[in-house]
């Protein structure tokens, strides 16, 4: 009997070990798709790389695919002899192709520099942090607000200002708001590689069915609300689609003269009348059912709700162009710039940059790559592919798709801004989403919810 127990226990232990091994195996392979997760009602529906299109149809020949044009490019910075540098970024096949072409152009401009492109499509930020800690990070890599927070206070990123002046590039060449995230102590630690913003996306047929005129570029949020109510009352589809999401809420706040956090990133300003007024608009629309969440109509995000013709309007960004082309090519949709609020017209801007590892052995060549990739010459080529907007205000007219262009106009407005509030940005923005969710649930009214939010956001800004 004893022996049997022993054997049984051994078997159990072995099974347990195999199971746990399997379990860990699974855990390491987890890839979290963005869209199904937002189906779960989770408020953060901003894609991880919000400035770029989800993916481009393989059959759509991007301009870059037609061959690398001979450029008269010059190397922006005098580079070290025989420099070999590594460059990493996230991105699907489309983005990788665009950056491979960009690197080819760079190597034509700066002969003698070998660039080793190592794309990291998944868990980019986690991997970069681990690599940086282990001293094996690439020389040049994408930087977003999360990596900026992790790297720049301890000096892991190279200040690019000296190299920029050597290259004859100044901060003024870029759209000014984009540099907010990547500036620390008046030094530039990343150059914006692309950006995105939100526009009002709508289905013309919804307006036709409701018998009301289509949105125009001088619409206000109140106009939007009226139209949404008319469409929703028709009973055929939802009016305006918006999740409990800080990014979709931000343009309303900005245009009503509010903001999440004061300019010095010290004080939360989320219980101000401007913010509450914006929240009240959203709450009222939700109560009168002119505003629906994507999950209410059976879509995983609002863009899909447009594609499936479940709602008349939503606010989405330039990624809609390729998304619709790829998945709902027969759906006729249009975009105008973001509606205006009681104070001005203002949009939210998303952006990512390219930064340089402070420990690189070839700072000249690395800085040259960062400057070249974000420079006007290369950005012009990328804009032509329809993949992303140029970070240079002079190239705003290069955007070809009319809808894409309409969306982008919101981001170029004077009062548009990046929702960046220093190192604890992520926490503050997440709390905003939760506050909106509480209002949607009827758990609290706008006053209670945003007073609580103010307290929570203040604590988050203070650090731990």
């Amino acid at each position: 009997m004893k022996k049997r127990w022993f054997i049984l226990m051994c078997a159990v232990v072995i099974i347990a070990m195999i199971m746990s091994a399997c379990a860990t195996g699974n855990a390491t392979n987890t890839t979290a798709p963005i869209e199904p997760t937002s189906a779960a009602g989770e408020p953060t529906s901003v894609p991880e790389e919000p400035t770029t299109a989800p993916s481009v149809d393989e059959t759509q020949p991007a301009a870059a695919e037609t061959g690398i044009p001979v450029t008269s490019g010059e190397c922006p910075v005098a580079v070290e002899e025989g420099a070999t540098i590594t460059f990493s970024g996230w991105g699907d096949d489309t983005e990788q192709k665009i950056y491979r072409d960009s690197i080819d152009r760079f190597q034509t401009a700066c002969p003698g520099v070998t660039v080793d492109y190592v794309p990291i499509p998944d868990k980019f930020q986690d991997k970069m942090k681990a690599q940086m800690a282990g001293g094996t990070a690439p020389d040049v890599f994408y930087v977003d607000d999360q990596l900026m927070t992790a790297f720049s206070p301890s000096g892991q990123l190279l200040a690019l200002d000296d190299y920029m002046s050597e290259a004859g590039v100044s901060r003024e060449d870029y759209i000014p708001q984009l540099l907010t995230i990547f500036t620390q102590d008046d030094k530039t630690y990343g150059l914006p590689k692309d950006w995105g913003t939100l526009g009002l996306i709508y289905l013309p047929e919804a307006f036709e069915a409701a018998g009301i005129p289509e949105p125009t570029a001088d619409w206000t949020w109140e106009d939007m609300r009226e139209a949404a109510k008319t469409i929703a009352d028709g009973g055929q589809m939802g009016g305006f689609c918006m999740n409990a999401d800080w990014a979709r809420f931000a343009p309303i706040v900005f245009s009503n003269g509010g903001t999440f956090v004061s300019d010095d990133n010290q004080t939360a300003t989320l219980n101000t009348p401007e913010v509450k007024q914006s929240a009240q608009l959203v709450a009222d629309m939700f109560t009168e059912k002119s505003l629906v969440r994507a999950s209410d109509v059976g879509a995983s995000w609002c863009g899909e709700a447009i594609g499936k013709k479940l709602v008349g309007m939503t606010t989405e960004g330039g990624w809609m162009v390729n998304f619709m082309k790829q998945n709902y090519s027969d759906v006729d949709w249009k975009a105008v710039q973001i509606p205006s609020g009681s104070v001005s017209r203002a949009d939210i801007i998303f952006t990512n940059a390219i930064g340089v590892n402070a420990a690189t052995k070839f700072p000249q060549a690395s800085a040259a790559l960062a400057i070249y990739l974000t420079g006007e010459e290369n950005q012009g080529e990328i804009v032509n592919t329809g993949f992303a907007y140029s970070t240079h205000p002079t190239q705003a007219d290069l955007i070809q798709d009319p809808n894409d262009k309409a969306i982008s106009e919101g981001g170029l407005l004077e009062d548009s801004r990046v929702a960046y509030w220093g190192p604890n940005t992520g926490k503050v923005n997440d709390l905003v989403s939760k506050a909106i969710e509480r209002v949607f649930l009827g758990d609290q009214d706008v006053d209670q919810s945003f007073e609580q939010l103010q307290e929570e956001a203040q604590a988050a800004l203070a650090g731990q």
Binding site: A27, G41, D126, T136, P153, N357, A359, E437
Partner: protein, 415 residues
């Protein structure tokens, strides 16, 4: 002549001394490899820059480990001196440790060393790229601050959630696993086929299952559709629920029809949310079959003569099950309960994939919080705070497991 040498206390003393040296050296190397220094390319450039950094910021850590290493070294030396005189036991000792050596070194470096590192880090403020700053018990206090300060309730809410999780998931999945095992142990046709089918959820990747369940739980998904159809037969209207996005708690759902409103400040009275219970259901679905296999294995071991004797004595089927099967399964029930509880308290992947801690934190779990704080998902990296939360969780798991053992082991040996 050799025998004399062996018996001489001098060689035993020498061996003991060498043992002491080796043990101390190995432990110190492990400590240095896991020294709590800042990371980053400047430190990791070469061995000398790393050792420099260790000298600069991790001396207290090395010192504490060093003292521990000396104590362990002395103990090991004494054992060796005692065993050395007996030639056979000396051989066994040497060969035994020789075989253990590679595994031992890996374990010491990557398990024990990392554990000590994390323990040290939990008393510091550490963001990987700057040297850890000693803050004493501040991180531990921070984790529990949610008890008094509702603004910082994250960790407390996480614990609250996993307690409900364990309380519901463990009994249900254990009962279900026993039921399945007993059913599949009965003589019947196609037994193997059913075993395979029932076991399938356990071998399927939990990621795949979670993704399928996300669809299943959609507001316009199959679950709502099915319920609406079934209720429709009886003419009862059904309002679709967004299962994974609904933070309404169990008690809240019970209280509200009675006109009681539980305000959101008293979230702890609301009980597990709909979203959380949806994840519980999914977890029961995937883990019950895993434990079913264990019970099946144990059932093979029950002596059939016992049932035979019982049936001759006139025991009914239920009596046989409750008086013979269940008591004999007790050790496995203990194992399953303990493993289930540990797994429940550490639940992560379903949360990560399906809800990311939402809605309104009702599916927040300690491990998910540790993950997001340690990797700086929503702000600066708080390695120290994350480590402190991990140790609190480990302590809680240890205590619960201890009491479970005491409770369930009582009377196990009576057969």
């Amino acid at each position: 002549m050799q025998k004399q040498e062996v018996r001489s206390p001098q060689s035993a003393n020498l061996a003991a001394f060498w043992t002491f040296l080796i043990v101390v050296a190995v432990l110190l190397i492990v400590a240095i490899l896991n020294a709590p220094t800042k990371g980053g390319p400047q430190v990791m450039e070469s061995l000398s820059t790393y050792l420099n950094e260790v000298r600069k910021s991790a001396l207290p850590f090395i010192l504490v480990i060093g003292i521990g290493a000396v104590i362990i070294g002395i103990l090991a030396g004494r054992v060796v001196r005692r065993e050395w005189v007996d030639r056979k036991r000396r051989g066994d000792l040497l060969i035994g440790f020789l075989f253990l050596l590679p595994y031992l070194f890996v374990t010491l470096t990557f398990v024990l060393g990392v554990l000590l590192f994390a323990l040290y880090i939990s008393f510091t403020q550490y963001d990987i790229f700057t040297s850890p700053k000693w803050v004493g018990l501040q991180n531990y206090a921070l984790a529990f601050r949610g008890l008094t300060d509702p603004v910082r309730k994250d960790f407390i809410q996480g614990l609250y959630n996993v307690f409900w999780y364990a309380l519901i998931v463990v009994p249900v999945q254990t009962a279900l696993a026993i039921a399945l095992a007993v059913l599949l142990n009965a003589p019947m046709r196609f037994k193997q086929l059913f075993r395979t089918i029932f076991y399938a959820p356990s071998v399927t990747s939990s990621v795949v299952i979670t993704l399928i369940f996300i669809w299943f739980y959609l507001k316009t998904g199959y679950l709502n559709f099915g319920i609406a159809k079934v209720l429709g037969v009886f003419g009862i209207p059904w309002e679709n629920i967004n299962w994974l996005g609904d933070p309404r708690g169990l008690f809240q759902l019970i209280a509200e029809p009675m006109g009681l409103r539980i305000p959101s400040e008293q979230w702890y009275l609301r009980g597990p949310s709909i979203a959380w219970m949806a994840i519980m259901f999914q977890n029961i679905f995937t883990t019950a079959p895993t434990f079913m296999i264990m019970f099946l294995a144990a059932l093979q071991d029950v002596n059939p003569a016992l049932y035979e004797a019982a049936s001759i004595d006139g025991a009914s089927g239920w009596q046989q099950f409750s008086k013979i099967t269940l008591p004999l399964l007790r050790p496995i029930i203990l194992l399953v309960t303990v493993l289930g509880t540990i797994g429940s308290l550490q639940v992560f992947d379903q949360v990560y994939l399906a809800t990311q801690g939402g809605p309104l934190g009702t599916s927040q779990t300690p491990v998910y919080l540790i993950f997001s704080e340690a990797l700086g998902k929503l702000g600066p990296i708080h390695m120290g705070y994350a480590a402190a939360m991990a140790f609190i969780l480990a302590a809680i798991i240890f205590i619960i497991t201890y009491f479970q053992r005491r409770l369930l082991e009582r009377g196990t040996q009576s057969y």
